[in-house]
Symmetry: C2
């Protein structure tokens, strides 16, 4: 472990201005940047089920082979996704102006000429829930909220529900369309997309998100007290039988009889940005760290990387992986899918018998300034299905999410938002953990 | 002057956390916020020559009357402008992806299905200028640059020329289209629009600007060494005989025989944002300060406000004002058209006989932390024509422009970008200057 903890990349991450000298550290850092830069530039936006996502799989398989991974495979599957159309919104009266809007995934579809209706303002999801049955007939609901930035991304649960549930609730009360304040924390005219879900028996209605400045504008217009009419055009469609797939690869361990360590990320992105923080960075981090963990001696256990497809539209890649590989033993799973800012906390889900293993991980991360968190690790969507199926042990390395929801699912999720120093710190932290768990000779127990 | 220099709004601006108590100061600050908020919300985007700009004139005239201005008038004129159409751009190969683009004002028009061509990369305007004649035949030029933020906005001269001149130079060498890196300093997927100009004898070609992250993406793709094909659709049109107009109003002075002080801003905005910093804030500042200067005793000289139309597309409002009012005497002109961040510097253009007047202004601004600048004041586009025609004295209050070109001409120019504390400091500084020049009994001399 000493060579990892003292790596030049780690020093560079911790001490700004320190030059990077050790060749092996430079190499691992270069791998991470090479992946996040290459995937976002040479492929670009890669919506689940699109031709671009197919190009991403080819790019990913080629990249893993070039980096020395073995058993590299593309594992195709078919899924239901959302194909974007034209997205526009405008205030018709009392102050005609255009709004920055995006359709939500699985939105209903408007005619090409759009729909128009009176806007009904709700300050929160609870206010919408309290609206009487039928009260939104023929109207377009607007749901505001007050999400704030947080290091652990805590706001995405409750405020993300405005997006996940709001349109369905509005539809159930008769609305012909729904618009939400983006589930985000920035101040730019870049709306945040993401999937919405429809309760059983509720027919989808057109559902979009406006940027935060536009939501504030709507709230100000509402405060003027005049009726507001709004026009909405969202021509995208929910589409069955779209092609997607996972890419997997392995760095074989010395003892093939031991269950492997599974590390996951997702290859698809929303289509507004190029998915740099969500989640090219995750693939960069897990892959560079796996290589780093193998750079001295070959690890005892195999490390398998999963670059999953179609995470954004429903976690279909993780589900397909669990279906395809649920019969194979796994020791432990980890995932990186929360950007590339600094890892500040480690959480675990380990059986009582593996308490000593957990303690060693926490102690090894301590010099990197990473604190132990008392919460239970959950992995993430891409490894969650196999974790649940096999009751796997899990380690989470939590990234600082303070600015994550400034960028999440927006056009602004681009390469320039990745801080190379923070990316290197992620690789350092992951390499520390993989160096321990992939060299663990004892049994890593199931957790339930 | 004492009541102004000690105003609570000024204290609030200088000492964060100090509550605002003095009623008259609250009032002036409220006027400024009321104007910038009202114009951007109740009117919204207001492109020169549009129905929205007409609504802005009606809104402005009503607002000035409500605030107690006299001789309020809308002065219509006809001009040539640019009517936006559909703006899209995408990389066709080698890595298909969409780009965030805006047409530049006076761009040529593509067919509805767009144009496509090989992209030729130029790292700078000089590199484009050096391209051989005819070398761009059938191609689309991309012009990159390296504009950086500056307190005095110094980059807008040279790097703004990439926008102003680049497309015409590309056309003169045979290009079928031109794309520039936006003349801006931010890192968001929001391109910066603005006018481009065509040299005599050069037929306009489609000309757009991509956001800065998109420009970086293009540069990275270029570095891969493969030919790049790009598709561009910009269907807007240069249009003659569009209706526009100025709004003027006066706060009469005690001595109507003395030439008035003219203070200007512009009412139109680009259509991507709501023109909060460019230039609703300017109208807010000059108007609130004029009222403040009159709040104690009526000033000696009349203060005339000019809310000009069609500044963005060629300064037509300022030209129309000079034509309509060039026969009337004016004493001195000022303009606010550089956002609403803190005033940090004062510059003047005064005849030698008025040196003492200039010294008094500098001394009065010193307690607000505003430094004297040795450069020559120029007013701005809206008052520039009358300044030139009558060789008027000018005072400039320079705002901090460090973040101005993050927002300038983008969708992000919205109300949330205006800092109320900095806005109040602007009003304070302007009120100090207007309090001096509008009470100057001596002759304010022409400068040339």
């Amino acid at each position: 472990m000493k060579s990892i903890l003292c790596s030049a990349a780690l020093l560079a991450a911790l001490v700004p201005g320190v030059a990077i000298a050790a060749p092996e550290a430079v190499s691992a850092q270069d791998v991470a940047w090479d992946i996040v830069s290459g995937l976002t530039t040479e492929v670009g936006q890669r919506l689940a089920g699109s031709e671009a996502e197919e190009r991403a799989r080819a790019w990913g398989a080629e990249k893993l082979k070039t980096l020395g991974f073995r058993n590299v495979a593309v594992e195709p599957f078919i899924m239901r996704g959302y194909v974007r159309g034209t997205d526009t919104a405008r205030i018709v009266s009392p102050a005609p102006q255009s709004l920055a809007v995006t359709a939500l995934g699985y939105s209903g579809t408007t005619p090409a000429k759009g729909i128009e209706g009176e806007l009904v303002y709700f300050a929160s999801l609870d206010a919408l829930k309290a609206a009487p049955a039928g009260s939104l007939a023929g109207k377009i609901a607007f749901v505001d909220h007050a999400m704030r930035a947080a290091q652990d991304g805590a706001g995405y649960g409750p405020y993300g529900n405005v997006r996940r549930q709001g349109p369905s609730i509005a539809a159930s009360k008769g609305a012909i369309g729904a618009i939400i304040r983006s589930a985000g924390t920035d101040s730019h005219r870049n709306p945040h997309t993401g999937v919405t879900t429809w309760a059983k028996g509720v027919a989808p209605i057109p559902a979009g998100a406006v940027s935060l400045p536009d939501a504030q504008q709507i709230a100000r217009l509402v405060s003027l007290g005049k009726p507001i009419r709004i026009a909405l055009t969202l021509t995208g469609r929910t589409t069955d039988n779209l092609p997607s797939g996972n890419v997997i690869g392995e760095l074989p361990g010395r003892d093939p009889s031991l269950p492997p360590i599974l590390v996951g990320c997702h290859l698809d992105s929303w289509d507004l940005g190029t998915g740099a923080i969500d989640d090219a960075a995750g693939c960069a981090i897990i892959t560079a760290a796996a290589l780093r963990a193998q750079q001295g001696d070959q690890t005892l256990r195999t490390i398998r990387v999963l670059w999953a497809g179609s995470e954004e539209v429903g976690g279909f890649g993780g589900e397909a992986y669990a279906k395809a590989h649920g019969g194979e033993p796994h020791a432990l799973a980890m995932e990186s899918d929360f950007g590339a800012d600094r890892v500040w906390r480690v959480q675990s889900k380990l059986a009582p018998a593996n308490k000593a293993l957990g303690d060693r991980i926490v102690a090894a991360l301590n010099p990197l300034g990473i604190v132990f968190g008392a919460g239970e690790a959950d992995g993430g969507t891409d490894v969650g299905f196999i974790i649940e199926k096999q009751k796997l042990a899990v380690i989470d390395l939590n990234q600082d999410g303070t600015r994550y929801f400034d960028l999440h699912h927006t056009p602004d999720d681009t390469l320039d938002k990745v801080d190379p120093v923070a990316l290197a710190q992620n690789v350092d932290a992951w390499a520390v953990v993989l160096g321990i768990v992939a060299n663990e000779p004892g049994r890593i127990e199931p957790t339930g």
